[in-house]
Symmetry: C2
Subunit: 337 residues, 2 copies
């Protein structure tokens, strides 16, 4: 059996964001039909603060893939000149069990996370949205921005804010258009992209807000939002992380990638602990909106929230797209196993 | 980061049974000191009878490795001309999280399982054992036989019995010496290897018995055993499988690779359900004997049993040996990830 081995460098060459978005949408829709599995998380804490986890699952139906990714986070590597984060993903055809590919997990995760933010906005934000606020100027944020600009060609202004380091946002905007073009093939020449430093003011000007920070307390308050705003909250993916005011969940139409997981480790965790939301009372899952099973936004004035915590099936559908593209382009290593 | 990709063909070239035995012994000893982890099994049953499982864990201390193997069993592949069993193993350095290798899981599993049977015999059987009975003539049995012949150069006679298909054992013995030499480098020219068909008689003649079948009822009864016999029971690795009389567990010194796992899915499962053994009352774990923490055989007349159900750490230590050997021999694919 031949499988594809794809390095990060090859993945950057073969993964195209529009195809990643398409794959992630397919998985969300399949999830609404019960055709996506997330198998139990395996997690181990090493002495010395390192952590490894194994996330596994599958998307069946017309996607037909299962597998696992093993991620390592070894903070002490910083001092050794070694990468702190490493991870490998392995993907199998779920019709036959035949292995398809083994690859670096980090770039796949970045791309599908960006796609998720954009899909949430596309399904829930006002289609005529023109003002985008990107909260977070770290490693992941370019993927959210690029994917959302693909989904919303009508965006005129992007404000970038780094609540922890305003200088970082200023540096970010100086190169972001070139990076969007080079790394994601997104032409943002017609878009004004500027750094912001007043969160309240920036929030009040925005139609779409994307959050991708490591925050553990609200950065965005309910009263700052103008009617009709959409928020895709991506940063909160473990217990204790929080980016927006829990009170927003009282007034918004709130959607999850996975309702139970979002109420356990996502942006909905704190509101759930406060009794504001439960997996049963959340408005719905994003796949239900995409599949036409539930309405997303009902009026132009609705505040909408999408909370994404990630599913192994999103990595796997992205891995499948990468394997197909690598074969077409003759890239990556083809190895017998 | 460069990792090694090792196919089954390369693994056959690089893995040497004596080194596999050494690695498996190391892990058993580490386990006795609490330095081996088996993380929760992830298992999924597909519609149509296919099963996939993910076994993960690590061996720390002087071994320093963690990882996972994902195994697929798709019976319907038989009719499609595709392999029924596929699996991939990924191994990481547990000091740094850096990936070491990705490889075919099946050959690694076969080799370490053979090693386990031999290590159990080496730790528990009489050192002057001359008569070996191999119960099972399927795909796995050559690894048990080869490893045990390495550990017991004094073996004079090997009887091979297939309780389900006597013809199979007859065919098996015609080629086994050549296969032992070619596949495992074991010279068995001085050993008489013959097929047997009377289980009771063969059992009564044997000092060491290795069982590796898919049986779900006892093939070997307590009263057939002569004093001093050792049994390494390897076939029973899931609920319902059983190769030997539960009554043997009342009279034998019984050792497990993992006491809890053996009482749940191993040869000890049925005796445990009958109240004959519990994880607490089993004589010990094999690692405790190897580490000198518990006595194995006490007298020449003891009946001893070793029940092995497998640990991910055994695959991982074998994978590490394979990566080291492949680097030394310049074999396998070195891939950037």
């Amino acid at each position: 059996m031949d499988i594809k081995i794809l390095s990060r460098d090859v993945l950057i060459k073969v993964l195209e964001m529009p195809k990643v978005i398409h794959g992630v949408e397919s998985v969300y829709k399949l999830k609404a039909r019960g055709d996506v599995a997330a198998w139990p998380l395996v997690e181990h804490h090493f002495d010395g603060g390192a952590v490894m986890d194994i996330r596994s699952g599958g998307a069946f139906g017309n996607v037909g893939i299962h597998g696992a990714k093993l991620l390592n986070n070894f903070p002490a590597n910083q001092d050794k000149g070694l990468p702190v984060f490493t991870g490998i993903l392995m993907a199998f055809d779920s019709e036959t069990g035949i292995p398809l590919g083994v690859m670096d997990a980090s770039y796949v995760t970045s791309m599908r996370t960006g796609a998720a933010a954009a899909i949430g906005a596309s399904a829930l934000a006002r289609p005529d949205s023109e003002n985008l606020l990107l909260v977070g100027a770290g490693r992941q944020s370019i993927y959210l921005l690029g994917a959302t600009l693909i989904k919303f060609p009508g965006i005129k202004t992007v404000r970038v804010i780094d609540a922890f380091d305003p200088e970082n946002a200023k540096n970010y905007v100086t190169t972001i258009k070139d990076r969007l073009k080079a790394e994601l093939g997104v032409d943002a020449q017609g878009v004004a992209i500027e750094a912001a430093d007043n969160m309240e003011e920036a929030v009040g000007l925005s139609d779409i807000i994307l959050t991708i920070t490591r925050s553990t307390s609200p950065l965005i308050m309910k009263d700052w939002l103008k009617p009709g705003t959409h928020l895709s909250c991506i940063g909160a993916d473990m217990v204790g992380k929080e980016e927006i005011d829990p009170e927003i969940f009282r007034i918004a139409r709130c959607f999850a990638d996975d309702a139970k997981q979002c109420c356990t480790v996502g942006e909905m965790e704190i509101p759930a602990k406060m009794g504001i939301v439960t997996p049963e009372t959340v408005t719905g899952e994003i796949g239900e909106v995409l599949a036409g099973l539930k309405p997303g936004r009902i009026s132009n004035d609705d505040i909408t929230v999408f909370d994404a915590t990630g599913l192994a099936a999103l990595d796997l559908v992205t891995a499948k797209a990468a394997v197909i593209a690598a074969k077409e382009k003759g890239l990556g290593i083809t190895a017998e196993i």
